[in-house]
């Protein structure tokens, strides 16, 4: 329970169940969340953020139970779910004015530095590409000076150079502030370079939760092959079940 963030939760929907899982984040952790489409990655992140209530279990921050209302009083988490929640005629300056009022630790200076570093121009959101919107939202997240970041497919729509830049910025922030991040992605090579831990989800179940160094140690194959191996075994098992049924 000495982790920065700890959760032991589950979620049941009529058509889908995210089975109970143990999750922790220590300072400077960079955790990659992967899984096939519909595996439950977004539900996993929504549960941790407090955006949806767990069917069972609790979420802890520095050993204290956190209800969704607690994050409102103590905004140490920052989140991105692939959506820019502002009027599409707003520009980054408008967003800065709004966020400066909402987040007590907001730094406008840092925000414009991040935008500059990520080559985000001061134009309307409507005119931005998907990748630029993602970069804008990363700058918005980091300028809140959070202790924990939850990112859902942050690198989607980014070209390889921009992806490298975004992940480097994220890593630098984590190391500098001793914060932690969990991000979902479909690009496994990103995890190999930047993440310290990997969580693999399949059909609402955590099938792998381990340090990347442990996986790669002694294995001559890449992380990508290891993940494929796990997923194919799981799919094969499901296929067998179906055959028996």
């Amino acid at each position: 329970m000495s982790s920065l963030f700890y959760a032991k939760v589950s979620k049941r929907y009529p058509a889908f169940e995210l089975q109970p899982f143990d999750f922790y984040l220590n300072e400077c952790d960079i955790v990659g969340l992967i899984g096939a489409n519909g595996a439950g990655k977004t539900t996993f992140l929504n549960l941790l953020e407090g955006r949806c209530l767990p069917s069972s279990g609790e979420v802890y921050y520095k050993g204290r139970v956190m209800k969704p209302i607690s994050w409102k009083k103590n905004p140490v988490v920052s989140f991105y779910d692939g959506i820019c929640p502002f009027c599409e005629k707003f520009n980054p300056k408008d967003i800065c004015t709004v966020m400066a009022d909402w987040y007590p630790k907001w730094s406008s200076e840092q925000y414009f530095d991040y935008l500059n570093f990520l080559n985000v121009q001061i134009i309307a959101i409507k005119q931005m590409s998907l990748g630029t919107k993602n970069k804008l939202m990363l700058a918005t997240m980091l300028a809140q000076n959070p202790e924990i970041l939850f990112c859902d497919e942050l690198t989607t729509g980014l070209d390889p150079v921009a992806r490298e830049k975004v992940l480097h910025l994220l890593k630098e922030y984590i190391n500098k502030t001793h914060s932690a991040v969990i991000f979902s992605t479909h690009i496994i090579s990103d995890l190999e370079k930047f993440a310290s831990r990997i969580i693999l989800l399949d059909n609402g179940k955590v099938i792998l939760n381990t340090d990347i160094s442990c996986i790669l140690e002694g294995n001559k194959i890449s992380l990508e092959n290891v993940v494929y191996d796990y997923l194919s075994k799981s799919t094969l098992a499901k296929g067998n079940d179906n055959l028996i049924l």
Partner: protein, 199 residues
């Protein structure tokens, strides 16, 4: 609160569309007639009042409503901002109507500005909780339901006239109390509806 007000003002300023010119058509029809100032006040009151539901609609469209649970703002602040925004919009409506009334008739009348102010205010007392509870699209049906109210009231003319003769000494005080009750009910429904927003 300031951030929310800034967001809403900026949104409606950026979403002003030439379609609003359509509202001038019924106003033009009444120019020169006795009913002009009355119709002008009603139309401008509704047009300005509608801007609040437009901001809720923008929040829905941009999915900001999905963030209500995790934004560092209490549910009360999120709801109260819409009512403060309504008050500002209603005052603005009153000022505009006052200026038009003065230019049109040369009189410093407060009746028409009050009508515009009141229409914008009462419109939103119904629309805000309905939009938060049902969503902006479905919330409009509730407003249609309220248009039946005057028809129902006319069925009870005799009772209302009797009530009026009993209450007329304290009519203003009663009106204030009644509106405060409407505000409290509207506000409580809005806060409870916002609390329920979740994925």
């Amino acid at each position: 609160m300031k951030g929310l007000l800034y967001k809403d003002f900026k949104s409606i300023l950026k979403l002003i569309s030439p379609v609003y010119l359509m509202s001038l058509i019924p106003i033009i029809v009444y120019i020169g007639k006795d009913m002009f100032l009355f119709m002008f006040s009603i139309i401008i009151g509704i047009l300005f009042g509608m801007q609040v539901s437009i901001t809720i609609s923008v929040d829905e469209k941009t999915k900001l409503v999905n963030y209500y649970r995790i934004l560092p703002l209490s549910y009360h602040v999120i709801a109260m901002e819409k009512y403060i925004f309504t008050l500002i919009i209603s005052l603005l409506t009153g000022i505009i109507i006052f200026l038009v009334t003065f230019s049109y008739s040369g009189q410093l009348s407060l009746l028409y500005p009050f009508i515009g102010f009141y229409v914008a205010l009462i419109y939103n007392m119904i629309v805000i909780p309905a939009s938060f509870y049902f969503g902006v699209e479905k919330g409009r049906y509730i407003l249609i339901g309220f248009t039946i109210l005057p028809i129902i009231i006319t069925k009870f003319n005799n009772v209302l006239l009797k009530l009026y003769s009993i209450l007329q000494t304290n009519l203003i005080a009663l009106a204030v109390i009644l509106h405060l009750i409407i505000f409290v009910i509207s506000y409580v429904i809005s806060v409870k509806s916002i609390e329920k927003y979740r994925i």
